[in-house]
């Protein structure tokens, strides 16, 4: 949609004082709550009823993408707001998956409210606003982010949320700062375990030692956060249902099913998939395209996975 990317600049910036009754109670309780929050979008109290911070590495692997999409997909029926830091990587996919699951989402910027950082995320900012979410910052006007501002931003992400979900983080990751804030604020701490050898999982291990509870599915998050089903929105659940009908899995040779089963295990390149399923590559491309169009399979960084 041409011209759409500037919506964020066009939409009016508003300011919410700490004395305002709408100021989220949870955020007010922290040691140094922002005196004033600048935001775009429509501020509704129920947006802050149940917030889940989803944070993690800026360098997301295909595993991370899959985890984020999977968990937030399950949360689609729940009454929950996804809060994240609007960075590349896990943050981006958290916002994106929330939008895809019809969940409201709040992006907390490290920079001035009139700046969008990173600039390449302009389009997702306007999508967040369109979907009834918020873009928030404690800094007015235009100002470029500095290192310390990211840390300050993290305290807001943790402060706004009832629980925090950590997906992929290296040992010195910034998302561990958010994690430590959340720990100090006594939020529900959750982390998704991953490969123990992966550098990008060492932060997660740290978090698990530090009291995060391991979660293995969307249901785990629902239980730990005590989320309730959102009565007014039952549509999204059906849309994101992951139950496979038998008919979908059976194809003339059963190849379709074979592919889906393999891709549900891990993300694979076409090359590997071809060896595992013994399907010739040119035939496999056809199958994968069909699955992609029907939404059963997705592609990231040249690899495919079944959501």
């Amino acid at each position: 949609m041409p011209g759409r990317e500037y919506v964020i600049q066009e939409s009016e910036t508003k300011c919410l004082d700490i004395t305002d009754p709408l100021y989220p109670g949870l955020l007010k309780e922290i040691r140094d709550p922002p005196k004033c929050l600048f935001y775009k979008g429509e501020w509704k109290g129920d947006l802050f009823e149940k917030c889940l911070a989803v944070v993690g590495s800026r360098k997301i692997s295909d595993y991370g993408v899959r985890v984020t999409e999977h968990i937030l997909g399950v949360l689609g029926q729940m009454r929950v707001t996804v809060v994240s830091g609007f960075m590349r990587g896990v943050d981006y996919y958290a916002h994106l998956s929330a939008l895809n699951s019809n969940l409201p989402t709040i992006a907390v910027l490290p920079c001035g409210i009139e700046d969008i950082y990173p600039v390449s995320h302009r389009d997702i900012a306007s999508k967040i606003l369109d979907a009834g979410g918020l873009v928030v910052s404690e800094y007015p006007g235009r100002c470029a982010p500095k290192d310390w501002m990211f840390v300050k931003r993290n305290r807001i992400v943790a402060g706004l949320s009832h629980g925090l979900l950590l997906i992929e983080a290296a040992e010195n990751s910034g998302s561990l700062i958010t994690f430590n804030y959340a720990k100090r604020f006594k939020r529900v701490l959750m982390a998704v375990p991953g490969d123990i050898f992966n550098v990008n999982q060492q932060g997660v291990r740290q978090a698990l030692y530090d009291g995060a509870e391991p979660v293995f599915s969307g249901e785990d998050v629902v239980n730990k956060m005590r989320l309730v089903v959102d009565s007014k929105d039952s549509l999204s659940g059906a849309k994101n249902g992951i139950a496979w009908s038998k008919a979908q899995l059976v194809n003339e040779d059963g190849d379709l099913g074979k592919v889906v089963i393999k891709l549900k295990e891990t993300a694979l390149s076409l090359e590997t998939l071809s060896q595992l399923t013994d399907i010739e590559i040119s035939k496999l491309t056809i199958i994968v395209t069909r699955l992609e169009i029907s939404g059963q399979v997705r592609r990231t960084g040249g690899k495919y996975y079944a959501s």
């Binding site: 090359e271 060896q275 056809i286 992609e292």
Partner: protein, 510 residues
């Protein structure tokens, strides 16, 4: 006395008649001057000619000699005027008229031997279309000329070894016989690639990339390979020469003209000419890639004409150089302006580019950890954005093969199958586009797509669905149709089916 001798000049690849006028004046102080915008290499010809005369036992006239190269406002460069000037001086001295259909071309050594120089093929090609004319050139140059089938030889070629024989011919003391083309040399092994180049079967695994290469070779589509170091990107790109068809006779002539102009044709006979594969380093300059300098030289894009331009480490190339590729790729030629003149060079090539996913190369690698920051990865990928990415029809992500012992990966032999199918697909395209300016599927305009690539209902529905679900751009939408056409051609299918479209969709950019 005044004598007029014919030679040629090059204006880019264009050949122009040049009249070498030599006047020997008996009055005035002895001198030897060349006028008509000669450059240093032409200017030096005076010394070579004088020595050659002496060493052939002919006295060099000790008079006022003026040589004019007409048209006098055209810059002349090259050493090949030596022969014409020597002939002019000799005939002027001895009062001999020179036939105005005789053309002279060649560089002299101090001993009077004739040497081949760059441009000799262009010269011969130019004369081959002029009936009744005669070309005098070095023996070594002739062997190059005769290797080309499809060159209509209407003129007579005289092979000249040294000045002495030529002088005795002019004095009617000796004879020179025109040399005839030996047809036998034509069919001696037509080679596809160099002996050192890997063939497609030398690469382990990477079946998807091989398939992409096959499509790229068949339809002339540009291909982008992305993957970690060592996955075989470079080797794969080099192996494209093994599946491309050999040069056709007309293509061979076009390539030889360019090679001759730049002087790389050397002693290669026509039948040994390989499809160009150019692999410039990523530090290449703007002029090196697109052509430039004065006297003007074509760049890599022209050297790759009718062949493949392979840009390894694509993201490391200077941004300007990459952006400069856009227009010549679109047009199939490049116009360069130097010193008030416009030169046009052809530039129709298949672009194959290879790039790492990030500066360290290991982003997304299954085992090795990437050490780049997220912004580094982002800005690296951003070098490929927009208009340049649009030039690539096919895009493939490559990963290291999982298992070397697996028969399924190692054992596949594609070479002969690929060669055959590519030739078939090219033939199909040639007959389809007979009455149009288009040569390959990749060149089709949207109008051509409507004419030549009608989609059936199911394939149309699939494509429309994909457009919506997979967030294709309108341009990507049309690219998919073009690739489907090539895939259908490879399968020798008259109609584009759903399967062709579905396969084409997997080669879109991520």
């Amino acid at each position: 006395m005044l004598v007029k001798v014919k030679s040629v000049a090059f204006k880019g690849l264009e050949v122009i008649d040049v009249l070498v006028e030599v006047n020997i004046n008996n009055k005035g102080l002895p001198s030897f001057d060349i006028v008509g915008l000669p450059n240093k290499s032409v200017e030096e010809s005076k010394l070579r000619v004088r020595s050659a005369f002496v060493n052939c036992g002919v006295e060099f006239p000790n008079r006022k000699i003026t040589v004019n190269l007409a048209p006098a406002d055209l810059h002349k460069e090259g050493t090949f005027y030596d022969l014409a000037i020597a002939v002019g001086v000799f005939c002027a001295k001895n009062g001999i008229e020179v036939n105005d259909k005789w053309y002279f071309f060649g560089e002299l050594s101090l001993s009077g031997e004739l040497a081949d120089t760059r441009g000799s093929f262009l010269f011969a090609k130019y004369l081959s279309e002029k009936s009744d004319s005669s070309a005098f050139l070095a023996n070594s140059a002739l062997s190059t000329v005769f290797g080309f089938r499809g060159l209509v030889n209407r003129c007579n070629y005289y092979s000249v070894n040294n000045l002495k024989t030529l002088f005795s011919f002019f004095k009617k003391e000796g004879t020179l016989q025109p040399v005839k083309d030996q047809d036998s040399v034509h069919e001696i092994g037509r080679l596809r690639g160099g002996d050192q180049d890997p063939t497609i079967d030398d690469i382990v695994g990477q079946n998807l990339a091989k398939r992409a290469l096959q499509i790229c070779a068949a339809g002339g589509h540009n291909l982008l390979l992305r993957g970690s170091p060592g996955t075989g990107k470079t080797m794969l790109a080099k192996s494209i020469t093994s599946i491309l068809p050999t040069l056709s006779d007309s293509e061979r002539l076009e390539v030889a003209r360019i090679y001759s102009y730049t002087g790389v044709l050397g002693g290669v006979s026509g039948y040994r000419l390989l499809r160009p594969f150019r692999n410039p380093h990523h530090t290449i300059s703007y002029a090196g890639m697109l052509g430039g300098g004065f006297p003007i030289l074509p760049g890599e894009i022209t050297m790759a004409h009718k062949g493949v331009l392979f840009l390894d480490e694509f993201c490391e190339f200077n941004r300007n150089v990459i952006e400069g590729l856009r227009q010549p790729m679109q047009n199939g030629y490049i116009n360069l302006n130097r010193k008030g003149q416009t030169f046009s060079f052809p530039s129709k090539f298949i672009l194959v580019a290879a790039t790492n996913p990030c500066p360290c190369g290991y982003h997304g690698h299954p085992k090795i950890v990437c050490t780049c920051s997220d912004s580094k990865i982002f800005s690296y990928a951003k070098k490929l954005s927009g208009p340049i990415l649009d030039r690539f029809d096919l895009s493939v992500d490559m990963f290291p093969p999982d298992d070397f012992s697996n028969k399924a990966i190692v054992g596949n032999k594609y070479l002969s199958n690929f060669q055959r199918s590519v030739e078939v697909a090219r033939f199909t395209q040639a007959s389809r586009f007979q009455k149009t300016a288009v040569a390959f599927n990749c060149e089709m305009s949207n109008q051509d797509l409507a004419n030549f690539c009608p989609l059936g209902k199911p394939s149309r529905a699939l494509l429309d669905n994909a457009y919506r679900k997979l967030n294709l751009s309108p341009r990507a939408y049309y690219k998919v149709i073009k690739i489907s056409r090539t895939i259908a051609d490879l399968a020798n299918a008259p109609q584009i089916t759903e399967a062709h479209v579905a396969e084409a969709l997997q080669f879109r950019h991520k």
